[in-house]
């Protein structure tokens, strides 16, 4: 057997689709690898996986993987995915979205998917910018960072995405990074196993735009930044608060139980038919 990346290539639509469109060093490809490996580990059949995405660099992912793939409109993949899941609850529905896709135009679907608690696994690639359209600031761009539409520094605050998801009702919320790829794979695995809505926010990097505009260096530099700023939640207690200030926590941030929508709806069906 020839030497190929052990797991991932079996899931790729290699025919004509590669090399992928992403810029050199972009984190999205790393995230894609982690997702594939998690699915492989879970021994899910490719036929039972549906990957749904919106529009954005990150949302280009479905094109490359050999699942049932649905590349939708900007901001709305969770709404499409809700229809997919309702129609066939036995399918594993994984939603790939970006910070712009999920939180700018798609913010409403995001909070409602959390609230409704329908069994979707949402992987949000947070590169702090609109990559696809050329580096405008996004709802996760930090205060005073530069975007092409914030030439004098962004005056809006970034969402704390995970906090927003928890407040909206999501029962499983995790955060990983493109750098911590082994941990990421595990988080995706856990999220996929979770019955109910699960979010994995992945801190990723866009060297071409965000990195360049904010002078944060190339992909390697940006990955080093991730390495230096991620604090595993397990270790958070041991870190002095002042050291936590500009850092972010990774790992499973929230994991509770709440009735899943499709299962609840089965009860509606039972009740309706009982009354009939």
């Amino acid at each position: 057997m020839e030497l190929i990346p052990k797991v991932t290539h079996h899931y790729l639509r290699t025919k004509k689709k590669f090399p992928n469109v992403w810029c050199a060093g972009c984190g999205i490809g790393i995230v894609m690898g982690a997702i594939i490996r998690a699915i492989d580990k879970l021994k899910l059949s490719r036929d039972e996986v549906v990957m749904v995405s919106g529009i954005g660099c990150s949302s280009r992912m479905p094109v490359y993987v050999d699942f049932n793939t649905l590349h939708t409109t900007h901001g709305r993949p969770l709404a499409f995915a809700t229809g997919v899941k309702l129609a066939k609850p036995s399918l594993k529905v994984i939603v790939i979205t970006g910070d712009g896709d999920a939180l700018a135009i798609g913010g409403n679907h995001f909070i409602h998917a959390c609230r409704r608690n329908i069994d979707l696994t949402c992987i949000l690639v947070n590169n702090q910018t609109y990559g696809m359209t050329g580096g405008q600031f996004s709802p996760s761009t930090p205060f005073m960072k530069i975007g092409t539409t914030a030439p004098y520094g962004n005056r809006e605050r970034a969402f704390d995405i995970s906090k927003l998801a928890i407040a909206s009702g999501a029962p499983f919320v995790a955060r990983g990074t493109a750098y911590h790829v082994v941990q990421l794979e595990k988080l995706v695995e856990q999220a996929t196993l979770k019955k109910g809505f699960s979010l994995v926010e992945v801190i990723s990097h866009c060297p071409t735009l965000y990195g360049r505009l904010n002078k944060e260096g190339d992909a390697v530099e940006m990955l080093k930044w991730q390495r230096g700023h991620a604090i595993p939640i397990s270790a958070a207690g041991k870190v002095p608060p002042e050291k936590l200030r500009d850092k972010f926590l990774t790992g499973v941030l929230w994991d509770i139980e709440f009735p899943e929508y499709c299962e609840e709806y089965d009860k509606v069906i039972a009740e309706a038919q009982r009354r009939d």
Binding site: V21, C23, C57, R60, M132, T133, G134, T208
Partner: protein
């Protein structure tokens, strides 16, 4: 009903394509060329570009149409001059060149040349070796165009590069331009031998 133009003559178009891949600065080169030709040399000019289906990466091209008359159709039809900084660009676009059109390639990156007269120069290599960064290959190529053809004046190019170069890079860009002017001069010299 207020704006009626009466000239019947079609324009004496000269069509240029600068082609390469994403990071090679073809759009910027097109803008500089167009500004030099249009604003500094005072001709009519339209610059357009073609974006791939993806926002980044892949082929990149920038077209410049020059004329002393009004330019109606803004895109190129049949090229008078084609610059190619990648093999892929050369393969894709070379058919669009007129029989007597000028083909200029980066000799380091375009190795399989079509069977026709070609001006080949190692733009990228020169940029790396003499300026220390490959990113000014586009500017060298512009210099070469100015020197090989009469479509743009050196003066015009110099002025625009001076004006447009990001702060702190003026020097490098002007140097690159000079290398370009030089290159073609040598080549012409060689040819006349």
């Amino acid at each position: 009903m207020d704006k009626t133009k009466k000239s019947i003559e079609t324009d004496d178009r000269y069509e240029i394509r600068l082609s390469g891949s994403g990071g090679q600065g073809m759009v910027l080169a097109g803008m500089i060329l167009a500004e030099a030709v249009g604003i500094n040399d005072g001709k009519n000019v339209v610059q357009t570009q073609s974006y791939g289906p993806e926002a980044r990466g892949g082929a990149s091209r920038s077209d410049v149409v020059v004329s002393s008359k009004e330019i109606f159709y803004p895109k190129t039809i049949k090229l008078d001059l084609l610059l190619c900084l990648t093999q892929e660009a050369c393969d894709t676009y070379y058919q669009a060149l007129k029989e007597d059109g000028v083909l200029i390639v980066d000799s380091g990156l375009v190795t399989q040349l079509p069977a026709r007269e070609v001006h080949a120069f190692p733009f990228t290599q020169l940029a790396r070796e003499r300026i220390g960064t490959p990113v000014v290959a586009n500017i060298i190529a512009l210099g070469t165009i100015a020197s090989l053809t009469k479509i743009v004046t050196k003066k015009g190019l110099l002025e625009v590069v001076q004006r447009r170069a990001p702060k702190g890079t003026e020097e490098k860009n002007l140097q690159a331009l000079e290398i370009g002017f030089e290159l073609a001069r040598k080549k012409r010299a060689r040819k006349s031998h």
